[in-house]
Symmetry: C2
Subunit: 214 residues, 2 copies
Amino acid sequence: MGRPRVGVLSRRLIGETALRLLDDDRDTGFRMSDLARALGVRVSSLYNHVENKTAVFAEIREILAERINGEAAPDPRWDRALHNWAHAYRAAFAAHPSTVAYLSALPLDPHSTVGTAYDQLASQLQDAGWSTAESMSVIVAVESFVLGSALDASAPQDMLDPGDRTDVPRFAGAYIARRELAAAEGVTPADLAFALGLDALLEGLRLRLERAAA
Amino acid sequence: MGRPRVGVLSRRLIGETALRLLDDDRDTGFRMSDLARALGVRVSSLYNHVENKTAVFAEIREILAERINGEAAPDPRWDRALHNWAHAYRAAFAAHPSTVAYLSALPLDPHSTVGTAYDQLASQLQDAGWSTAESMSVIVAVESFVLGSALDASAPQDMLDPGDRTDVPRFAGAYIARRELAAAEGVTPADLAFALGLDALLEGLRLRLERAAA
């Protein structure tokens, strides 16, 4: 007997399929009927595994969060741990930019992997001397920078190109110089802005913690 | 004779109406036919002013950029100018979160107001000692932080609430402590994270510039 062509229907398979549909068509998203068709099942079968479309997005978040947690190497230094988390987080969301806007407004599920990752980071920050309240703000601030950077990384590389416009010479020069520097370093212009911004953000946070401790 | 109920159809009025439709229904966006209905005109009339839906989004960007430029007080210090720009920018996009994902991937129009604002910032950064290439990365990095922060500011305030979950005690404590601190200061939790992150980012950038000059 042959094996079935698709895996047994599950919440995880539904989430993975929805993520693929979102990647294929960034503008229009997906309907539950699209999802059922892509999986070769009836729409009613989906509802044995997910209550609604919100639950599909919640599962997408778990898939991305597990990837991030798997990629982000822990580090005994809180700033290095945040650095590793930010890099893994940006890579996961830059690969799936259409999820950023939706997931950034979707309430966390109880028992979400995201909560567990936040708990590990909050513990490390608090142990390093951050106040309980500020540990949360640090995580959210780094996350905001990462999500904006993921959108930038997934945008067309020439979206800011001033072309032959002559009324913005300092901007045009900066645009070309950044592109040439990125080419020379073998990275994208978005990579340069992300690295510079993350370094500056973490350096500023280190200073703030030192001053609070002094 | 009475005045007409709506203004004379124009690119600007079409953009303002589309922005209102996006605000009303964050998930589904708008069709050109929705836009025509909201304006009480035929779809064909729209095409006398905008070539397509992309042009409508480009006009929305101009509307938001003009608001930002009007709100962001110039400052002779580059870091204060960036601070003012970031605050005005976040406020404009937090009021219209459904535009963030789309506009962050839409190529700049020639003669866009955004290009003019970038030129002013790039001039100021270069005059202060930033290299031409880095002036562009600084602008993009601050912009990424702002766009992520705008998404956070527009998300439900309790979206990270761990509720009665007991397996993430340091995260739960941090969540509650930040909420209480925000209430005591009369701001939102998102405001705290934005202020802390922007301060740290600008502080880190100041340090980087000082070291480059040394």
